[in-house]
């Protein structure tokens, strides 16, 4: 039998009962579509994380106290940042950050509770690639003199002053009055931090006024170092590590701080999302297998229903292999059609999810041939048993069956 004939015979079998064939393929459609959507969702999540971390600024090196070591949270101090700035070669800037507990902010008869605050050094806008939109950032002098000046996030400025210019106005943070120097440019949410809803204060003031007593002293939460270029990063990391080890009197091999690049952080984040992605892919894969069992089930029913037809074909000269192929191809067509529709549905679904909600999706190109190939394999695997049942029928019994 020619291949085209086998295909047309198998196709006739499928069109014999269109509703049933459709419902059978539905299992594969859902399986294939969910594989693609699941992978797109987790790839989208990964891309979002990578973008957020890259959004911290270019060529950034992040120094933070090591986690899980008692007392380490207090070892990173403002002087470390100054030392890095003075002694490390190949950098364009250093900034330190500290995050005090949120405070109530009042201005212009508006009072807002639980406003997050951040204390930074004056180089914050340049190191973090985050410019001021209106007015200016406080300078080094103002920081050192502990001047009561503040820069507002763009959203917060709107909330407090509406369309009025906030420059030169007074805001009360907790009980202290500050003068507004500037408004940051809009940035939005990055890594779960609302940059537009914060107040930006000189880190000296924050350390003096707003930190709980357990974190008193010139403790900082994070030091950001901007390298001159991508190529300088390794050397800068080595310098920072040995400098801080000396300053903290610890071994380089047993530091109480970590020096990471954005790449490191992305890799750590990806390890977490990869586990999540694998889980999703397995769940989707299981639904594909369930779809395959559906095909096997229907093919067995079909073989039973068409026993007489099989007997007739055998009497007319169909060899066991002819019958086997007819039913196997039928199963494969069902799953391939399911695969094609599933790919379309998966791609469409991924775009739909991406455009609808806050969820971000990125279709993984490899997932399409992967899901499609899996569908074909499912068809062959689960179609084989019913097809052998058909091929092994005895023509006499088959012809006698009603």
């Amino acid at each position: 039998m020619k291949l085209s004939e086998i295909f047309s015979t198998a196709w006739e079998g499928i069109t014999l009962n269109k509703v049933r064939s459709f419902l059978t393929t539905l299992g594969v459609i859902i399986g294939v579509a969910s594989v693609i959507i699941m992978l797109a969702v987790s790839a989208g999540a990964e891309a979002a994380i990578a973008e957020q971390i890259n959004g911290l600024g270019a060529n950034l090196i992040i120094v933070s106290p090591i986690r899980g070591v008692p007392g380490a949270a207090r070892t990173l101090v403002l002087d470390d940042a100054l030392a890095i700035e003075k002694q490390v070669v190949g950098i364009t800037g250093v900034t330190a950050e500290q995050l005090p507990p949120p405070q109530t902010v009042k201005a212009n008869n508006v009072s807002l509770d639980s406003i997050p605050m951040i204390g930074t050094t004056s180089s914050f806008p340049s190191v973090r690639d985050y410019p001021v939109a209106l007015g200016r950032y406080f300078n080094n002098d103002e920081d050192e003199r502990k001047s009561k000046v503040v820069v507002l996030g763009s959203g917060l400025a709107k909330d407090l002053f509406g369309d009025e210019s906030p420059l030169g106005q007074t805001v009360t943070i907790g009980t202290t009055k500050f003068t507004v120097m500037g408004v940051m440019s809009p940035k939005g949410m990055v890594a779960d931090v609302d940059y537009d809803g914060r107040v930006y204060l000189p880190i000296s003031i924050v350390i003096q006024k707003y930190m709980p007593t357990t974190l008193s002293g010139h403790v900082v939460r994070t030091i950001y170092v901007k390298a001159e270029s991508q190529e300088k990063i390794p050397s800068v990391i080595t310098q920072i590590t040995s400098l801080l080890a000396t300053r903290h009197e610890v071994l380089v091999s047993k530091p109480d701080f970590t020096v990471q690049t954005q790449k490191d952080i992305i890799a750590t984040q990806e390890a977490t999302t990869a586990a999540f992605r694998d889980l999703l892919a397995w769940v989707a894969g299981v639904s594909l297998v369930v779809g395959g069992i559906g095909i096997m089930n229907i093919m067995l029913v079909s073989v039973t229903e068409r026993t007489r037809e099989i007997g007739l074909r055998q009497a007319l000269g169909a060899k066991p292999a002819d019958v086997l192929l007819q039913f196997l191809i039928e199963a494969v067509i069902l799953s391939l059609v399911g695969g094609i529709v599933g790919v379309l549905g998966g791609v469409g679904g991924s775009y739909l999810f991406g455009s609808l909600g806050s969820m971000r999706t990125a279709i993984v190109p490899l997932s399409i041939p992967l899901a499609f190939g899996a569908a074909a394999a499912v068809g062959i695997f689960f179609g084989y048993y019913p097809a052998t049942r058909a091929a092994q029928l005895d023509p006499i019994d088959a012809l006698r069956r009603e």
Partner: protein, 248 residues
């Protein structure tokens, strides 16, 4: 003596084993010459169906030889049997066995699908199937489906299908069993015509008036041939089917 198309020698078919052993065929010897029209008669359980299945290469005998068209086919495997059925034998069944969803033309074309030796284009096949349908008087019913045809017409489609690969032998199993008397006459006339054109026909029936159309009537009982008569002289025809006179 003219050349035999079918030579059956000491054919046995045993079902089960030991205590439950049933000898459906017990040493059957039959020769059928080319161009003969033979009827096989017998009660149900006589072994005529088993004989028919072996003659049709649907089943293999337990013992003995079956030489069809000069070749011993008694021990062929499934694939070889399928090939013999396709090329040498045309089946006509009691219940027609047409595929309900397909036109007469497609039904008649079906055996050509499995004929690996002949590489015919789709068009050639259709032409050949159309010719076969014309030869049984259904030239104007090519695209009708079985449910749009009468019983007699359906059986004529089945005969056209049996003829399509130009087989050496037509095996008809109760070909008029599901038909009214007028259609039965039509079908028997077609078989007669085929016989006159030189086709070898072996027909199983339990109706004496149908068997009377054949040149030769073989009676089977308890797995043995009990009579074999020519030109209306079979004891089977005169009496109750499978009646006792041993004439060999």
């Amino acid at each position: 003596m003219s050349e035999s198309l079918i030579e059956v020698r000491e054919l046995t078919k045993v079902y089960g084993a030991d205590d439950t052993e049933v000898r459906a065929l017990d040493g059957v010897n039959v020769d059928v010459q080319r161009g003969e029209f033979v009827a096989i008669m017998g009660h149900s359980g006589s072994g005529k169906s088993t004989l028919m299945n072996i003659l049709g290469c649907l089943d293999r005998p337990t013992g003995g030889a079956y030489i069809l068209d000069g070749r011993d086919v008694s021990q062929l495997d499934k694939n070889e049997l399928a090939s013999v059925r396709n090329k040498k034998i045309g089946f006509v069944f009691q219940s027609f066995n047409l595929l309900p969803r397909m036109s007469a033309l497609v039904n008649v074309s079906l055996p050509m699908l499995y004929n690996g030796a002949e590489k015919l284009s789709v068009k050639d096949r259709e032409t050949r199937a159309a010719k076969a349908l014309e030869s049984v008087g259904l030239g104007n019913r090519l695209h009708h489906r079985p449910n749009e045809l009468s019983g007699g017409q359906q059986q004529r489609v089945a005969i056209a299908r049996a003829l399509i690969n130009q087989p050496a032998l037509i095996l008809a199993d109760e070909p008029t069993g599901n038909l009214d008397s007028k259609s039965s006459v039509d079908i028997m006339n077609i078989l007669h015509k085929l016989h006159q054109q030189g086709t070898t026909i072996v027909m199983v029936t339990h109706e004496t008036d149908v068997a009377a159309h054949a040149q030769r009537v073989i009676c089977v009982k308890d797995g043995k041939v009990i009579s074999d008569g020519r030109d209306g002289h079979s004891p089977c025809l005169g009496q109750a089917v499978g009646g006792g006179n041993e004439t060999e």
